[in-house]
Every structure is written in structure tokens, then in C-alpha cells.
């Protein structure tokens, strides 16, 4: 080794150049890799993030759209009034209940349906088709259908059924507005959860199940120790996607109850107070910001779940 002399100083100059060249190429490569995503990224930022900044600005003003007065900057006044607004608190509570119940029940019903469907029986494909259909139906239609043809006290099928047993008919949509909306949401979203769980079940390794069975494992044991751990990420994904969509429910409420106080969630309340005729844009913007902050907190929890899903996937 001693026979090799240290490289003379001038020879190191090209080495520096080379590393610069490498860095330059890496930069070009980096941009080449980034280029395809830029249109989607820019589009998303412009359409979703910039309006949000406007909302933030509006929320600090006393702006009403129905009055010609120039809007004035009033700082956090809109926010300080929120705590006393009992309608806001009620809408927030409805939002929480509606989302949690709808997600939870759809998940339970969807998992049960997937387990039932993941077996060989006559007409399996046909029954699956029947079960998927509610998810494909337009929310407005689902709402009308349940309200006027199922829940209705005089023409509704459910009440006809109840009356067979001699009970008094109930106008469900007005007596139990929150539950009425939740029932329709679960009817529509259980099929979606079922699809996700079914995908998880069918991704199972049949040979592992076979081996467990040969070893004398019971059905319950197989479910608890093999199937459920396998299903967990799918259940988490279902919860996440369900929550994203169900927290923003508007159509069902509009159609089924028309936004009665017991079934009005925050998105509905905000729309009502602003573009729906309330016209207090400044105040409604402050409501929106609160919803967004709460969502970001929830989203952070959700994203942890997601990063768990992506773990080890490179």
C-alpha cells in the first residue's frame, strides 16, 4: 500500500467537478421525478388551499353579504361569540354523534355481511350484487326513498309493518330525526365497508387457513387469531374513509329532515347561516375555521393510522 503515492493536488480538481456534476444530475433527476406530480399538486393547492385562506380572512371580519356596508376587521370577535352560541354547540354535538354512530354501525354491519358473503352458497354473486346496490344510489334519492316510502306514517312500509302488530304508526323522520338519518347512512355505507372487508378476507392465504384447520383450530379461533389480525388494516381503512365522507353529510339531512335542530350537523348549520340565507359570512367563516381545526386534529389521528398502513411499503 505504501507504494501508492497520495494523489497530487491538481488531480483532485476533476473529482470536485465530478461531484458537482453528480449533484447537478441528481437535481435534474429529482425534478424529472417530481414533474409528473406537479399538475395534480398545483391544482389541489389552488382549488382547496387558497379558498381556505380566504375563509380565514373572512372570519376576522363582520361581513354580511346582504348589507352594502364595507366589511370591517373585527379581530377574533366572531370566535369569542362561538362559545355562547347554543345552536353551534348543538350542531357540533349532532356532528359527533352522527359520524360516530354511522361509521361504527356501518363497520359492524359491513363486516358481518362480508363474513356471510365469503362462503360458497347458491346465488352468491347475485346476493352480493343486491347488497352492493345501496352504496351506488344517489344520496338525494336514498333520502326521499326512506323518508316518503319507508318512514312515512301513512304510506310508509315500516309503519305498515308496525301496524300489523297493532302498534301506533310513528312519523320517524320527525320523532327520531337523528336516528332516521343514521339508518339511511348505515344502509348506504355498510355495502362500502363490506366491499373493503371482503377484499381483506379474499386476500387471505387459503393454505394458512387450511393448515390451521388441519391442526384442529376452531372457526372462532381461526377468526380471532388469523382472520382478524389480517382484517385490521382493512377495518382501519374503512373507518378512515367512512369518517372522511360521513362527517360532511349534507344531502341526507336536507332531504330527510330538512335540517331540524336535532339532526343538523355543522356543515349543514354553516351552509344555512351563510349561502343558505343567513348571510352572516364573517361569522359562518369563523364556524368553518373551527370545523377545519377540529378536523385537522382528527386527521392527525387518521394519518397516524394511514402511516401504519404504509409501513414497510417502499
Amino acid at each position: 500500500m505504501t507504494t501508492i503515492e497520495p494523489a497530487p493536488a491538481p488531480a483532485s480538481a476533476p473529482a470536485v467537478d465530478r461531484s458537482e456534476e453528480v449533484r447537478r444530475l441528481q437535481r435534474i433527476d429529482g425534478w424529472k421525478r417530481r414533474l409528473p406530480i406537479l399538475p395534480a399538486l398545483l391544482f389541489t393547492i389552488v382549488v382547496t388551499q387558497i379558498p381556505f385562506l380566504f375563509t380565514l380572512f373572512y372570519s376576522l371580519t363582520d361581513w354580511r353579504i346582504d348589507k352594502p356596508d364595507p366589511r370591517q376587521f373585527i379581530g377574533f370577535e366572531n370566535y369569542s361569540g362561538l362559545v355562547d352560541d347554543k345552536f353551534f354547540r348543538q350542531a357540533a354535538w349532532v356532528s359527533v354523534q352522527m359520524t360516530v354512530m354511522a361509521v361504527l354501525f356501518s363497520l359492524i354491519v359491513g363486516t358481518a355481511l362480508a363474513l356471510l358473503l365469503d362462503r360458497k352458497f347458491f346465488g352468491q354473486g347475485f346476493v352480493r350484487t343486491l347488497l352492493i346496490t345501496p352504496f351506488l344510489v344517489m344520496p338525494v334519492v336514498a333520502g326521499f326513498l326512506w323518508k316518503s316510502q319507508m318512514f312515512n306514517a301513512t304510506f310508509g312500509v315500516i309503519n305498515w309493518f308496525i301496524e300489523l302488530f297493532g302498534a301506533e304508526p310513528i312519523e320517524f323522520a320527525t320523532r327520531y330525526p337523528l336516528w332516521s338519518v343514521v339508518v339511511v347512512l348505515v344502509w348506504q355505507w355498510s355495502p362500502f365497508m363490506m366491499l373493503i372487508v371482503l377484499a381483506g378476507l379474499q386476500g387471505q392465504d387459503a393454505s394458512v387457513l387450511e393448515a390451521a384447520r388441519v391442526d384442529g383450530a376452531t372457526s372462532v379461533g381461526i377468526f380471532r387469531q388469523i382472520t382478524f389480525p389480517q382484517l385490521r388494516p382493512y377495518l382501519e381503512l374503512g373507518t378512515l374513509l367512512g369518517a372522511i365522507y360521513l362527517v360532511q353529510v349534507y344531502d341526507h339531512i336536507e332531504v330527510i329532515t330538512g335540517g331540524s335542530p336535532d339532526s343538523k350537523n355543522l356543515p349543514f348549520y354553516i351552509a344555512q347561516r351563510s349561502i343558505g340565507g343567513g348571510n352572516v359570512f364573517g361569522l359562518a367563516s369563523a364556524y368553518s375555521i373551527i370545523v377545519v381545526i377540529a378536523s385537522i386534529i382528527l386527521a392527525n389521528i387518521g394519518l397516524r393510522v394511514l402511516s401504519g398502513l404504509l409501513e414497510g411499503d417502499d
Binding site: 429529482g30 406530480i37 382547496t48 358473503l117 326521499f144 387457513l209 378536523s295 404504509l310
Partner: protein, 311 residues
């Protein structure tokens, strides 16, 4: 693992039964599944029946047997001056859904490529950003969108030349605003699903095609597309469903011109007279196209969600 065997795992065929080992239990569970399936479908069956009834039959205590008529269907599809017609709403919905879905795919496919095939640095953070925009409730953005969409007017004065360009874009009450918003609404989900489909393409296959001197276009057409095609279809279908069924934005931003099918259905509810049969007929027409697509593509969608979601 060869791709074909990977795909085989998602044929949509049942795995070994978890429930019901013995024969009697198996038949019982099969019947139970049938019963629940019919129960879930019943409200829709009932709606279709009501669509073929007279208003008198529909607005009475539920009856299964009646004289079917197509009158309600011709009633809801006929054109009346000054009222949103079915033809018009269907046309609006068709173009809005088609263009926004094409736009979503045009934006999401390259994005998924950059997230999965030749991943950029920090691709995870970027993916999280896309998904996080879905967490932002639409109410957080609806007011400024409404304001901006109502009327955009500003002047651009070009430096040196002194030319003034009056920009005056009216987006509210046009189809454009819905196309833009539906694209934004579906883009995160599409990017999320497509990334996972693209991640299924074996790296070796891409490298091999590069060594063979395949151009980027050839690589995409001959190697990547055949593998991700079912995923593309499932993703596009989900976008179509969500866009076709969307009501809130359509009714808030677009009440006059360019109204879509959900707005048309809602408009069938009239203050006077009975409308139950009429609205049922309208509902059947409104839901049929999407339900049909869903039925045809259901297996693909299960497979799509399986691979798209977790892998």
C-alpha cells in the same frame, strides 16, 4: 412473485368458509345471507314499484299489486317551458361527470407514477398532503368558492406596453365550476388508489423494459398499463359514482344553468298535489346509469379496493 399469481389472489372467489362448518349451519347461513340481501334491496325494489304506480296507488297504504303504468316516466321526462327538464339535466350531468373524471385521471395517473414507479423524494409526505385535503370539510372553502365563482373581475395591466386586459369570468351557474370542484373532490382518492395499483408493477419488469431500450411511452403502454388497467377502471368508476351523485355543491353553486341530475330529482318534489310516484319514477331514471356501472364492475371494484387500499 409473478404478477399473475398475485392477481389470482383477488379473483373475487370466496376463501375457505370461516362460518358454518357443518352442512345444516351452512345452508342456514346461506338462507340468512339471502334474506339480508333481499332486505337491503327491498327499499329500492319498492321505489321501482312505486315508479310504475298511479299517484293514488302510491299514496295509500302500501300495496304490492296494482295496474302498472308508464305514465309517471313520461310525465317526468316531458319538457316544460321554464322548468329543468330531464334531458337537460342528464346532459349536464353526463358532461360534467365525464370531463371531471377524465381530468382526475389525467392528473392522477402521472402523480401515481411519480409516487410509485419512479418515486420522488418524500413521496409519503406528498401522498399525505393529498389525503389531508379530503379532511378539510368543504364548508371551510365553500364561501370563498361561492364568492369567487360568482364573479371574477380584475384588470391585468401589462408592463411597458400598457395594455389592459379585463378579466371577467362568471363561473357560478356554469358547468365549469362543478367540473373544477368535482375534479378536486375526487383527485385525492384517485391518487391514493392509483398509487397502490402502480406499486403493484414489479420493478424488475420496468428495469427489463428499460434494458431492452423501451421508450417511456412504450414502457407505459406495454408494461404498466396492462397491469394497472383494472385499477384504473375501478378508480374511474368510483369517481363517476361520487360525481354523479353529488348534490350539495350542485345545488349551492349551480341552481340555474347547468343543473345536474340530483338537482332535477329534488325539483320533482312539489308543494301541491301528490308526487310520490312521480319522484319514484324520477329516482329510477336518476340512479339507473350509475347502479348499472356498479353492477358490471363490482368484482373489479373489490379487487381494486383490496390492492388499492392496502398494498
Amino acid at each position: 412473485m409473478p404478477v399473475s399469481s398475485l392477481l389470482d389472489r383477488f379473483r373475487g372467489e370466496p376463501t375457505e368458509p370461516i362460518l358454518g362448518q357443518n352442512r345444516a349451519a351452512s345452508i342456514g347461513l346461506g338462507l340468512l345471507t339471502w334474506f339480508i340481501g333481499l332486505l337491503f334491496f327491498f327499499p329500492l325494489f319498492w321505489m321501482v314499484l312505486n315508479g310504475f304506480k298511479d299517484e293514488i296507488d302510491a299514496n295509500s297504504s302500501p300495496k304490492l299489486f296494482f295496474e302498472p303504468t308508464l305514465d309517471r316516466f313520461s310525465e317526468v321526462t316531458e319538457d316544460t317551458q321554464g322548468v329543468l327538464s330531464f334531458k337537460e339535466a342528464f346532459g349536464n350531468s353526463f358532461w360534467i361527470v365525464l370531463i371531471s373524471t377524465v381530468l382526475v385521471m389525467l392528473l392522477a395517473v402521472p402523480a401515481a407514477y411519480a409516487l410509485a414507479i419512479r418515486p420522488m423524494r418524500k413521496w409519503r409526505d406528498v401522498l399525505f398532503f393529498f389525503i389531508s385535503t379530503k379532511f378539510l370539510p368543504i364548508v371551510g372553502a365553500i364561501l370563498p368558492i361561492w364568492i369567487i365563482a360568482r364573479n371574477i373581475t380584475f384588470d391585468i395591466t401589462f408592463p411597458l406596453t400598457g395594455w389592459v386586459w379585463d378579466v371577467d369570468i362568471k363561473l357560478l351557474n356554469t358547468r365549469t365550476i362543478l367540473i373544477i370542484l368535482y375534479t378536486a373532490m375526487n383527485l385525492p382518492l384517485a391518487v391514493w388508489m392509483l398509487r397502490s395499483f402502480f406499486a403493484e408493477v414489479p420493478k424488475e419488469l420496468i428495469e427489463a423494459s428499460q434494458i431492452d431500450g423501451c421508450s417511456l411511452l412504450g414502457q407505459i403502454r406495454q408494461v404498466i398499463l396492462p397491469i394497472v388497467a383494472p385499477g384504473l377502471a375501478a378508480t374511474a368508476l368510483l369517481c363517476v359514482i361520487f360525481a354523479w351523485n353529488e348534490f350539495f355543491l350542485a345545488v349551492q353553486l349551480n341552481p340555474v344553468e347547468g343543473s345536474t341530475i340530483p338537482v332535477w330529482v329534488a325539483s320533482q318534489e312539489s308543494g301541491r298535489g301528490n308526487f310520490l310516484a312521480k319522484i319514484s319514477a324520477a329516482s329510477v331514471l336518476a340512479t339507473f346509469p350509475v347502479v348499472l356501472c356498479g353492477w358490471v364492475a363490482q368484482k373489479r371494484m373489490i379487487r381494486g379496493l383490496a390492492m388499492g387500499a392496502i398494498k
